[in-house]
């Protein structure tokens, strides 16, 4: 065992912190502070994406030969920590965290050549078209149909909850190509190189914070080239399972984000009176709540570091599910504390003030502006990427009799 705290790591930390202090534009910083879900405001997020790309830091978790940084585990963690400390908009996961790594692993050379450069430089943004109105947790029951026709597929059906489809220029999706055999067997994984095919219609859905984030995507005889297929026809389920490793696999550390939420809660509590005397930050009940939360976050951090170092704990078949469950529930707990610190000051609906670049002053502090939307949006973390009920079923299967 060895925790390598080499002195050059501190130099690395300083280099990263310096860059984060100087490179982001004011709009990017504002977007970071006003990020109230896992998905940052799109425009500024992509501006920041391009700046990181120029710096060569856009994909620390990618293999170096494909544009990764070649950093050690410790460096990646330091990078994530400094990133969160600077309140920068988190990068969107669909391209860099999902379809990119998938193509690196199992895409054709032509697909890699065509798509990876534009994922890295931020010219492209990919939406994830999996869920359907009738198929959520039971994803394999999906029915959006693709019929082979010459060199094309003709798609009919719809997708739902497709995050940022209204901003995307590309989409990866699962379609049904066969109704024979088990439901998992007739699924195909497709890359759509455009979002504006004739017959495609993208309609945003307003979320419970009042902003559109997810979309419904309709397909009416949409003709797309078969060259966008990843893997074999009818073998899309195994492709999707492969991608899932990246989606849930903890390639990006979550604990620094959680730590930042706690810092914000503590800062706000330091300037809030406790009704029981003194300031809220000094109140023992508040401290116990923070202590339980922060200890769990620290533990998640330990677990994450073990995992990215390649420790056997992460080779447990339940690792992705445990990681997802712990992380999502901590996001909810941390944002609940923030919402509760704000109290009545979190009750104003302030859509304009939340919009980046609106120049609308919030009614109270910026903390009170974001705490409620953050709490509300965090309700989604136990629903998406496999609900926590479904995750617990998977974990239970590995725990029973083991």
């Amino acid at each position: 065992m060895n925790i390598d705290f080499a002195p050059e790591l501190e130099a690395f930390r300083a280099e990263v912190a310096d860059f984060f202090a100087s490179a982001p534009t004011p709009a990017i910083r504002e977007a970071g502070r006003k990020t109230t879900s896992v998905f940052a405001p799109f425009k500024e997020c992509m501006e920041w994406h391009r700046i990181l790309f120029e710096k060569g830091w856009i994909a620390p978790h990618w293999p170096a030969e494909h544009g990764g940084t070649g950093w050690s585990v410790e460096q990646r963690f330091i990078f994530a920590e400094e990133y969160r400390k600077a309140d920068l908009p988190p990068l969107l996961p669909q391209s860099l965290g999902m379809v990119g790594p998938l193509l690196i692993d199992i895409g054709t050379q032509a697909q890699k050549d065509r798509y990876l450069p534009d994922i890295l430089n931020g010219n492209d943004f990919w939406a994830q078209g999996y869920s359907e109105p009738g198929s959520g947790s039971d994803l394999a029951s999906l029915s959006c149909r693709a019929e082979p026709d010459g060199d094309d597929y003709v798609i009919n059906g719809s997708k739902i909850w497709t995050t940022y489809a209204h901003h995307a220029n590309r989409m990866f999706m699962l379609v049904r190509t066969s109704k024979e055999g088990k439901k998992q067997q007739g699924i195909t994984f497709l890359l759509l190189d455009r979002m504006d095919y004739p017959g495609m219609d993208v309609r945003p859905i307003v979320g419970l914070d009042g902003f559109p984030e997810q979309c419904e995507v309709f397909f009416d005889n949409v003709r797309v080239p078969q060259s966008g297929r990843v893997g074999e026809e009818n073998d899309g389920w195994s492709v999707a399972k492969h991608l899932l490793k990246h989606e849930r696999g903890g390639g990006n550390a979550a604990s620094p984000t959680l730590t930042r939420y706690c810092q914000r809660a503590r800062e706000a509590a330091a300037e809030t009176r406790s009704p029981f005397g003194g300031m809220l930050a000094d109140d023992p009940v508040f401290q116990q709540e923070m202590g339980e939360l922060e200890a769990d976050i620290a533990t998640l951090g330990h677990f994450e570091k073990l995992a990215i170092s390649g420790h056997e704990i992460a080779r447990d078949p339940a690792f992705p599910s445990m990681n997802k469950t712990m992380n999502s529930e901590l996001v909810q707990r941390a944002s609940t504390v923030m919402m509760q610190v704000s109290g009545v000051d979190g009750l104003a609906r302030q859509l304009e003030a939340l919009r980046v670049g609106s120049n609308v002053e919030p009614l109270g502090s910026e903390f009170d502006l974001i705490s409620m939307p953050l709490y509300l949006n965090s309700r989604a973390t136990t629903i998406y990427a496999g609900s926590n009920e479904v995750q617990r079923d998977l974990i239970a299967r590995t725990a029973v009799g083991s």
Partner: protein, 363 residues
């Protein structure tokens, strides 16, 4: 002992319920919330016709001499329909506070409030860390036999629309909290209005030496006004909880995944069971506490138990309802998230559950 609603109360519930079913369905309510109007003037007029606006006032003040359980009887329906009209603010807080004033102009305002011609507000909340009367920080300074108010009040329901406001402030830095009355648009009064997450019109109000008349500094009286309002406020929460329980139960029966209704998965079924237990707990406490208040036996601890329980259980029911609905639970289109937001708002006002439960714990 009898904790059921009387025949009369049941009749009132039926007629208010019928009106809301017909004219206050969710889509109509959403249109109203999105419009520029702070609430529906027609609905308010209708409430006046049902006698709701005059209900809690004594007959010699032109009221109907109704009891707190009368208000609870229909307030559950207000919660079920996510009513945005400022009933608690204008009638139970502003109105009943005006009713204790001997001042003639206050009495004239009260008349208009009862008929629905005027709206009264109640400026109590001061933001984070000030959940109860004892944390009031606004100060009333004596000036020529009356007072001036300086400071800020937050999240005042109907604060920008109210014609007349009752304000809670201390008589001097170290004095006791008292009630004062202020007219909208007085010198030094600046309201910044907004819509709350649950669709109600509210305002943060800056007071800069605003002239004010004292109503009372009788602690018991002020607490009684607040406690009655809190009970009706909690009745709204319990109504919202009942709507969430039935909507979610229905959804779990009809939504299918893996070829079966999701309600047949034990994880989902047990969550529904917990929701039902939570609702039953909240409603039991509501009904029992209402009866206690009516018999004059309720202590401040009883009120804290009610407020703490409904806040905590309401948040849990809202979160469970969203989780059970999956993706659709996260949308603005479905009513589920709106119930949850109403429950969060009701919890936060007059001290959130953490505060009240800790008061209970202090014995």
């Amino acid at each position: 002992m009898d904790f059921s609603f009387t025949d009369e109360q049941q009749m009132l519930r039926d007629s208010v319920g019928k009106f809301l079913e017909k004219s206050y369905d969710f889509d109509t309510r959403q249109e109203l919330v999105r419009s520029d109007a702070p609430w529906s003037a027609e609905a308010w007029q209708q409430f006046a016709e049902f006698g709701l606006l005059a209900l809690p006032f004594s007959e010699d003040q032109g009221g109907l001499g109704g009891s707190i359980s009368d208000c609870v009887a229909f307030a559950e329906l207000f919660g079920k329909h996510l009513v945005v009209e400022p009933y608690v603010a204008s009638i139970l807080l502003g109105g009943t506070a005006l009713a204790v004033s001997a001042n003639e102009s206050a009495q004239q305002w009260l008349e208009k409030v009862q008929s629905g011609e005027a709206i009264a507000g109640f400026a109590f909340e001061e933001g984070r860390g000030t959940p109860a009367l004892d944390q009031t920080r606004m100060v009333a300074t004596p000036a020529d036999g009356s007072f001036t108010l300086t400071g800020e009040k937050r999240t005042v329901m109907a604060g920008a629309e109210a014609d007349i406001l009752v304000v809670v402030a201390r008589k001097g830095e170290t004095g006791e909290p008292a009630l004062f009355v202020v007219e909208q648009g007085s010198d030094g009064f600046a309201a910044r209005s907004f819509t709350t997450i649950d669709g109600r019109s509210a305002a943060n109000i800056m007071f800069e030496a605003v002239p004010a008349l004292e109503i009372t500094d009788d602690r018991e009286l002020i607490e009684r006004i607040l406690n009655h309002a809190i009970i009706v406020h909690c009745a709204e929460a319990v109504g919202a909880m009942s709507a969430l329980l039935s909507t979610t139960g229905e959804y779990a029966m009809t939504r299918k995944q893996f070829g079966v209704p999701i309600g047949s998965f034990q994880a989902v079924a047990h969550r529904l069971a917990d929701m039902k237990i939570a609702y039953t707990k909240a409603r039991s406490t509501l009904i029992y506490t209402t009866a206690l208040v009516e018999s004059g036996a309720a202590s401040s601890r009883d009120i804290a138990i009610l407020k703490g329980q409904t806040g905590k259980l309401g948040q849990a029911i809202g979160e469970a309802a969203i989780q059970t609905h999956g993706g659709v639970g996260m949308t603005d289109e479905l009513n589920v998230s709106h119930y949850h937001k109403r429950l969060l708002a009701l919890d936060a006002q007059f001290g959130a559950h953490g505060f009240h439960l800790r008061m209970v714990g202090q014995g």
